[in-house]
């Protein structure tokens, strides 16, 4: 019997924008797939590439980093550094066998509850399409 694949997403959300955005999705009662597990970090710049690598090693189907839009970082410039790290890490992981569609960086502001739910829905959909990750 074919069991539908329920991917697991580890989401690193910055406290000031994206985590608040996820909260707003809740207060607005917007439903989205339950596949994401959220880790609150102070800033997307706090996300060490090691956390991403470890998440994949432990079995995550997808990893999401979400932070404030460029220019809106609570700490003024954290997300610019995140962008640089991500720009190098994503193709590198892809090169080493982690499909780049499994690793996303999104800007979600505190007012974008709707966007957050769409990001999760779309990411979940993508991961279902790619199928389970062989470890």
């Amino acid at each position: 019997m074919a069991v539908s694949h329920e991917p697991r997403i580890v989401g690193f959300l910055c406290n000031w924008c994206s985590y608040a955005g996820a909260d707003l999705a809740g207060t607005s009662r917007i439903t989205y797939p339950a596949n994401i597990r959220i880790i609150r970090v102070p800033c997307s710049g706090r996300v060490d590439p090691l956390f991403v690598v470890k998440s994949f090693q432990l079995g995550a189907d997808g990893v999401l980093i979400a932070g404030c839009h460029p220019g809106d970082c609570h700490y003024t410039e954290g997300n610019y550094h995140t962008r640089r790290r991500f720009a190098l890490l994503r193709p590198f992981l892809d090169y080493l066998g982690i499909d780049q569609e499994r690793f996303r960086l999104e800007w979600v502001s505190a007012s974008e509850g709707k966007k957050f739910s769409e990001v999760v829905a779309d990411f979940t959909e993508t991961l279902k399409r790619i199928g389970p990750r062989e470890i």
Partner: protein, 666 residues
């Protein structure tokens, strides 16, 4: 050994209506190091908090999970509950099973219940790694530094001083007053600018709480909120202001005449001078680049080549109090402050880039600010508007708006906000001075957004008979005694060619020279035009991203006088609020360096947006990073950049985040 208590909140039916609470409790009890798992109808209510307190004491808990709403909602509430039970408040972790679970997965209760269990599992894995943390108290130096002595800085300094706190105002020119002192009248009320400003200047100079430092500049800033150390350079005035009584005999008798900066080159001043008659302090400084005696000294020092300059020293001979101090040198003083307010204001755009408007080559093309000086009763012409070329009275005047504003090609795309109104004001004033004058105003749009502004603009048309022509002139050239302004009336769609006697360019605002350097010294942000950047354009308009440093007035962006005054007062209110406390509590969730692991690559020093990481040299000569607890804001940027993992963020340590992730697969 961690003893974790899990408290699951029903939040009425908000959580319990979707998540199966008994199932969650059953699962939570089996999680590692969990000794109790209980539920509450409303955890945040007083009975809810009481039950948490009791459970902590009864079960001897040393870590607490509250599975309820978002930590952004009630983390502080529950931290207090922990504290009241005698537990360190930072041993709490909240599991967000409302905003990020029950409210968004109400369509599938089974999935929501499973997710809630996993969220709690991750929180338990993290909370086990929590350590007690302690906020620190730091003292405050209750003394403010205001940089810039224009109307904004004056207002700020007065308001802070009136709240009872000491203020030092630093101004780099010999007098305070700024741009407003140069204006003739203010729109739209046509108040005499000097008449409303100078009393404030005098108030400031006589205020017992204010120390005025003119002819001085801020050179270096270190420290943090409550405890800044600022190096202030006092330029050599060569006049002892303690002795000087401001009698004025020196600047009346000084033989060396140079163009006056205050009058924008339209008038003359002497080498020993006060910039304008109502200057505060009313005591002169010697401009060494023009002083004859200084030239003589240079001539002696450089081997007496060429013609001998006169050994003037007239000021010294005439001074009744022997206040001339040739041996005075520039001095650097370090002062301590609790806060800093930046009010460095603006300067007008230098239109020499506008070749089509003559790049300063035509004597009768002047700027709006120059016209202010010509119209001012205390100006170089005593208030008579005359042409610089032949001294005649202009009968036709063309104004050109948006010179150095709203011009993408010159890299000045922003609107300078005040020019529409000041051109209207000047046109009205010219008509009042001489009813025969006809004014033309070339504009792009008339922006009259402000109290009584639109009415004032209509008054220019109706009463002063100003002709408004929509379009930016393409060329200005000299034809005999007349200046010809070529342009297009874009509303009529036809070219216009107007011969006039005088052209006034409404040059826009740009930040004062050196604003970028000052911003770098203060570690505050500035934009591509060197305007300072506020912490939030709507909600935190006078704060910066550096705690304890405020910005006000035209250094942040084009502002008119009332806005500058409002911002100055706003900054002063922020300062007073800060000074009303005796100590500042610092957040303990900050980065700390494990010096044994630090390899001294100092990437963290480069990367820190707050200059919160510095370095030390150990006894064996190694460089190691060290964080400043008061400057660190706990963003964690340095931690992610640190390869040897020598720096960690309290409350979000590598161990905590890794365990939180790994908790998902336990």
């Amino acid at each position: 050994m961690a003893r974790v208590g899990v408290f699951v909140c029903h939040c009425g039916t908000n959580i319990a209506g979707v998540v199966n609470i008994p199932e969650v409790l059953e699962a939570a009890e089996k999680m590692p190091m969990v000794v109790s798992a209980t539920d509450n109808k409303y955890s945040c209510s007083e009975p809810g908090q009481a039950s948490i307190r009791e459970a902590i004491i009864e079960n001897n808990l040393n870590r607490v999970i509250v599975a309820a709403c978002s930590p952004r909602m009630h983390e502080i509430t529950f931290r207090r509950a922990l504290a009241s039970a005698g537990l360190n408040p930072y041993l709490l972790e909240m599991a967000n099973i409302r905003e990020q679970c029950s409210w968004v997965h109400s369509d599938n209760k089974e999935i929501a219940t499973n997710k809630a269990i996993e969220i709690i599992k991750m929180a338990v894995a993290k909370v086990i790694r929590h350590e007690p943390l302690y906020p620190r108290q730091v003292g405050i130096t209750k003394r403010a530094l205001v940089i810039g002595g224009g109307i904004t800085g004056i207002q700020t300094a007065l308001d802070i001083a009136n709240a009872g706190y000491g203020v030092v105002l630093v101004e780099r020119e010999p007098s305070i007053g700024g741009r407003m002192a140069q204006l003739d009248k203010t729109f739209p009320t046509l108040d005499c600018s000097a008449c409303i400003l100078t009393p404030k200047m005098v108030d400031l100079s006589q205020h017992p709480k204010i120390k005025l430092m003119t002819y001085a500049e801020v050179k270096k800033v270190t420290g943090f909120i409550g405890n800044f150390e600022v190096e202030i350079l006092h330029k050599a005035k060569k006049v002892d202001h303690l002795k000087c009584i401001g009698c004025g005999i020196c600047w009346q008798k000084c033989p060396e005449k140079v163009p006056s900066e205050f009058d924008l080159g339209l008038g003359k001043r002497t080498a020993i001078y006060i910039p304008f008659a109502q200057a505060v302090p009313p005591k002169p400084v010697i401009d060494l680049s023009h002083c004859r005696y200084t030239k003589y000294l240079t001539w002696v020092a450089t081997g007496q080549e060429g013609k001998k300059p006169p050994e003037c020293r007239i000021c010294e001979k005439l001074c009744p109090t022997a206040a001339i101090a040739w041996d005075q040198e520039e001095q650097l003083f370090t002062e301590k402050f609790g806060t800093i307010v930046v009010a460095t204001g603006y300067q007008t755009y230098d239109y020499s880039h506008y070749k089509e408007y003559g790049s300063r080559d035509f004597a009768d093309v002047i700027t709006g600010l120059q016209l202010e000086r010509l119209m001012s009763a205390s100006g170089p012409t005593g208030g008579e508007v005359t042409r610089l070329s032949d001294g005649s009275h202009p009968k036709t005047v063309a104004f050109v708006c948006c010179v150095g504003s709203r011009d993408q090609q010159r890299g000045r795309p922003y609107c300078s906000k005040v020019c529409c109104m000041y051109t209207a004001k000047q046109a009205i004033m010219l008509k009042e001075h001489d009813p025969e004058v006809q004014c033309y105003i070339f504009y792009i749009d008339v922006r009259a957004g402000g109290k009584d502004f639109e009415e004032f603009y209509l008054r220019a048309i109706d009463e002063a008979g100003v002709i408004y022509i929509k379009g930016r002139p393409s060329k200005i050239y000299q034809d005999g005694k007349k200046l010809i302004v070529l342009g297009e009336d874009t509303l009529m769609g036809r070219p216009v060619e107007i011969p006039v006697d005088l052209v006034v360019l409404a040059t826009g605002m740009e930040p004062s020279a050196g604003a970028d350097e000052l911003a770098r010294n203060l570690n505050i942000s500035y934009d591509t035009y060197n305007f300072m950047v506020e912490a939030h354009p709507k909600l935190r308009p006078v704060e910066t991203h550096t705690d304890g440093i405020f910005v006000a007035g035209a250094c942040v962006g084009p502002r008119d006088i009332p806005e500058c005054v409002a911002q100055g007062s706003a900054a002063a209110a922020k300062v007073a609020a800060l000074f009303s406390q005796d100590t500042l509590t610092t957040e303990p969730l900050i980065a700390v360096v494990n010096q044994a692991r630090c390899i001294g690559c100092l990437l963290c020093v480069t990367i820190c947006p707050f200059k919160a990481v510095d370095y030390q040299t150990t006894q064996d000569g190694r460089l190691i990073a060290a964080t400043n607890e008061s400057l660190c804001k706990g963003c964690g940027l340095c931690i992610a950049a640190c390869r040897p993992k020598a720096i960690d963020l309290r409350g979000f340590t590598n161990q905590q985040i890794l365990d939180e992730v790994a908790g998902l697969w336990l």
